[in-house]
């Protein structure tokens, strides 16, 4: 038997990362901050975006790409809040978005007419952590109805995110959730994590999130000059 060994040494994520780098270049050239929203299912990504579109959609040209395993329900909910195109990616079973899906979705968007891009990833706290989509940063959401130790159970997602949004704060009186413990758990994984404390139902804490988004758009516009 003559065995021939071929040395490959190729990173399995290399192709995804190359496409993600292309997406990032494309978005940077258009001066568009892009946020990849990640969380477990039901943490409130779509509700946060509904409220964000309601509040900022008049001042900022916001584009959205949604990812779901099945249905376009999230995209339909968001399309009801904006006259702009909401791009739905149905992954048909895949547990995360990948860079080629985002690249394809961007082809339908007018980037010259966009100030801010949201990518609402598939609800999953594991797999989306490992897939670069070309975003400026990941924003992880978790709700007060989840455990405070979620950042310890799913450290990669919190480590790879620049911001964390604690959602459903209006439910805090009804659930045994210790905010300080949750924040400490998250910061033990990622000390630089910036926190927002929000309720998309009552609007509590949303203004800080909106101001953060406005400042992102302003800084990108200044950097592009």
């Amino acid at each position: 038997m003559t065995v021939r060994t071929i040395d490959v040494r190729e990173r399995v994520m290399a192709r995804n990362n190359e496409i993600a780098a292309d997406v990032r270049r494309q978005l940077e050239a258009a001066a568009i901050p892009a946020l990849n929203l990640v969380s477990s299912p039901g943490s409130g990504k779509t509700a946060l975006l509904e409220r964000t579109l309601d509040a900022l959609g008049g001042d900022l040209r916001i584009s959205v790409v949604t990812g779901d395993v099945q249905t376009q329900n999230d995209a339909d909910r968001l399309a009801a809040r904006t006259s702009r195109l909401v791009q739905a990616v149905v992954t048909n079973g895949a547990c995360h978005l990948d860079a080629s899906q985002v690249q394809h979705a961007l082809e339908a968007l007018d980037l010259a007419d966009t100030d801010l891009l949201f990518i609402e990833n598939v609800g999953n706290l594991v797999c989306p952590a490992g897939w670069d989509l070309g975003e400026q940063s990941k924003v992880v959401l978790f709700s007060v109805t989840e455990g405070e130790d979620k950042p310890l159970k799913y450290p990669a997602m919190f480590r790879n995110s620049s911001c964390a949004i604690l959602t459903k704060m209006d439910l805090l009186p009804y659930v045994p959730f210790d905010v300080e413990r949750a924040v400490a758990a998250a910061r033990s994984v990622n000390p630089g994590l910036r926190f927002f404390y929000t309720s998309a139902v009552t609007g509590v804490g949303m203004e800080a999130w909106f101001e953060f988004l406005r400042s992102l758009v302003r800084s990108r516009a200044v950097a592009a000059r």
Binding site: T2, T5, V8, R9, M13, A94, C95, C127, A129
Partner: protein, 86 residues
Amino acid sequence: MHELSLALEVCRIAEANLDAASLPRLRRVSIELGEAANIEVANFRFCLEALLGAPPFGAATPAITLCPGDDLRLASLEVDDDGPDD
């Protein structure tokens, strides 16, 4: 679920590095898997075995070596040039 996506990508890289005649003679795919790569080893191996045992491959098997870190690499391919096409 993402183990299957990654296994498919391993197969794509293997195909890109082999000519058509070598595909059914591929015997071993060596993979370096970071322990912090968020990949479930048994699930990943199951996906690889299923894909590498079907056309265009013949009877290739994965050899997974766990390493520190979070990287995942296809390290090398072993082809039996004298063997029958499986």
